[in-house]
């Protein structure tokens, strides 16, 4: 019974929070095609972590500062169409990663620490880490819930958002900051290398199975939580890296949905039997 161990309990709770928060923020990431941005932000935390390590401050604080700085930097570079957003992301992402690796290589215990940041160390979650994870996770969820209407409008129809007087740029930046927070919270459980999967995969799975944003978010959260639990148990019994196990469970759930989603799955398409109006979303004429 792995839950007999306190470190296992903490790891499990932290993974659950991360699975749920990533999945919900991930719905916006998937709907707006920001998967690349999510991955970039995850790698951009490295220099922040390195600096925090060198200055002996909390690593998560360093990660958060770096992620927010890169998120806002991308917004600044791409504002007014000076650069395409994916170009701005590519530039800043690689620069931050390089800076991170350069700084890390000056640290003696470089390889273990780097591995932990890249791939997580869920069984090393301390009580204060868990509190911080839970606190930040709840804060992110609370903001998404409170500003549901505003964020929906900004992401679905920025034109209407702007003409009803909403501060579109501020809300976009806010979502980027929430995304950065989510990534930082996830570092300890799945690490920078794999967090993009937790952001994208549950949300993409839920998109195949639902037709409204609230149900998409709920289902994604369920998938995220299930994958976190199942992955952690799997890693305990089969003895594989926990972050990788969580992501692999997520991916398996996605593949099942991709094949068998009612009306939209690949298997359904093969049968040639789509329910009326099932998937003609790309036709524009009547």
């Amino acid at each position: 019974m792995p839950l007999g161990y306190a470190f296992m309990q903490r790891g499990l709770l932290a993974s659950l929070v991360v699975g749920i928060v990533c999945a919900i923020i991930g719905c916006y990431v998937v709907l707006r095609g920001m998967a690349f941005l999510g991955d970039a932000l995850a790698h951009a935390v490295l220099p922040g972590v390195a600096v925090a390590y060198l200055w002996r401050v909390n690593l998560l604080v360093g990660a958060l500062v770096a992620a927010v700085a890169v998120a806002l930097g991308i917004g600044l570079f791409s504002r007014g169409g000076r650069l395409r957003e994916d170009t701005a992301i590519g530039i800043l992402f690689a620069a931050a990663l390089a800076l991170g690796v350069a700084l890390m290589s000056t640290i003696k215990t470089y390889s273990t620490d780097l591995t932990h940041i890249l791939f997580g160390n869920v069984l090393g979650v301390s009580e204060s880490d868990l509190l911080l994870t839970a606190g930040l996770g709840l804060a992110v969820l609370a903001i998404v819930l409170l500003l549901y209407k505003e964020l929906l409008l900004v992401f679905f129809d920025p034109v209407l958002a702007a003409t009803t007087g909403l501060p579109v740029d501020v809300l976009r930046s806010l979502l980027l900051i929430l995304l950065a927070l989510t990534i930082v919270v996830s570092l300890q459980t799945v690490g920078a290398g794999l967090v993009a999967a937790l952001l994208v995969t549950p949300a993409a799975t839920a998109q195949l199975l639902t037709r409204r944003l609230p149900s998409m978010m709920l289902l994604a959260a369920g998938i995220g939580a299930f994958s976190a639990l199942a992955g952690l148990y799997l890693s305990f019994y089969v003895d594989v890296a926990s972050g990788a196990a969580v992501v692999l469970v997520c991916t398996l759930v996605f593949l099942v949905a991709f094949l068998f989603a009612p009306g939209r799955g690949l298997a359904w398409e093969r049968l040639g039997r789509r329910p009326q109006g099932g998937s003609k979303r790309w036709t524009t004429e009547h």
């Binding site: 409008l153 003609k280 009547h286």
Partner: protein
């Protein structure tokens, strides 16, 4: 009161990246007017709308809605952009979209009330979309999508309604439904501005015409706004005639003549 001005535009210049598309627009639209904006492709019809609602900054001039600067009057303005500007695969239902029209009146943090939902459902019914309320928007046809966006604009309860190309690629019933609603709106003293490629439709169904070609060529009731000179200034070579107040033929560059033998359903679609 009869001569109250809904929309006042003073010397407005708007454009993209340093290039003005429309210059020196002066306009005074009376309350309750039903205005069709006509001009060739690239004349600045969409740019005008974006300038009016502040999506493009004014380089010169100003826009007043019922006497107030437009930035402070956005509660009273509804703008329906061209249909292509929306992500139709987004997981929202028809009812969700109409409810978005209420967001501006709700303010921060408040959820739509039962009254808001009732109003949204009523508007869906009015536009013949009642049965589709729970459908994802991607399942709607082009005409239904256009009516949906009109329903959302109506949910904003605007004093000024701006629609960019509402008749592009819609079927005849949708076109008639939209025209009916626009007439009802102007009877209730809402002011309506739409753009269209269809000069004949504009001439017959609207009480004001605004002819533009990078500037305002003419504005007024169709009979006075349209004459051989303004037509030539708007579309280039004069290629149709006016006789006893009727628009007889129309073969200008923007809109190819309607083929005679098109199936009934095609009616007035072009552009």
């Amino acid at each position: 009161m009869q001569t109250a001005t809904a929309l006042e535009v003073d010397n407005l210049t708007v454009g993209y990246n340093g290039q003005p598309v429309l210059s020196g627009v002066n306009l005074s639209v009376p309350v309750g007017a039903k205005v069709a904006i006509v001009g060739p492709n690239g004349a600045g019809k969409s740019t005008l709308f974006k300038g009016l609602v502040g999506l493009l900054p004014a380089r010169t001039g100003r826009v007043l809605v019922h006497g107030r600067p437009v930035a402070q009057a956005l509660d009273n303005v509804a703008y329906v952009p061209q249909r292509e500007e929306v992500d139709w695969s987004f997981p929202v239902t028809a009812l969700d979209v109409v409810l978005m029209g209420r967001y501006g009146r709700l303010g921060w943090l408040r959820r739509p009330s039962r009254q808001d939902r009732a109003l949204a459902r009523g508007l869906l019914d009015e536009l013949g979309l009642g049965d589709l309320a729970g459908k994802p928007i991607g399942d709607l046809s082009g005409g239904q999508q256009q009516r949906l966006f009109l329903a959302r604009a109506l949910a904003q309860e605007p004093a000024l309604l701006l629609m960019d190309e509402p008749f592009a690629a819609v079927d005849e019933p949708t076109q008639n439904a939209i025209l009916d609603i626009l007439t009802q709106l102007t009877q209730r003293r809402t002011t309506v501005l739409i753009s269209t490629h269809d000069l004949e439709l504009a001439f017959e169904q609207f009480d004001h015409l605004l002819l533009i070609n990078h500037r305002v060529v003419a504005f007024g009731p169709p009979q006075t706004a349209l004459n051989p000179r303004t037509l030539a200034d708007t579309f280039g070579a004069p290629s149709f005639s006016l006789s006893e107040g009727r628009l007889l033929s129309l073969t200008n560059k923007c809109c190819p003549p309607i083929p005679e033998n098109k199936p009934a359903h095609g009616g007035r679609q072009h552009g």
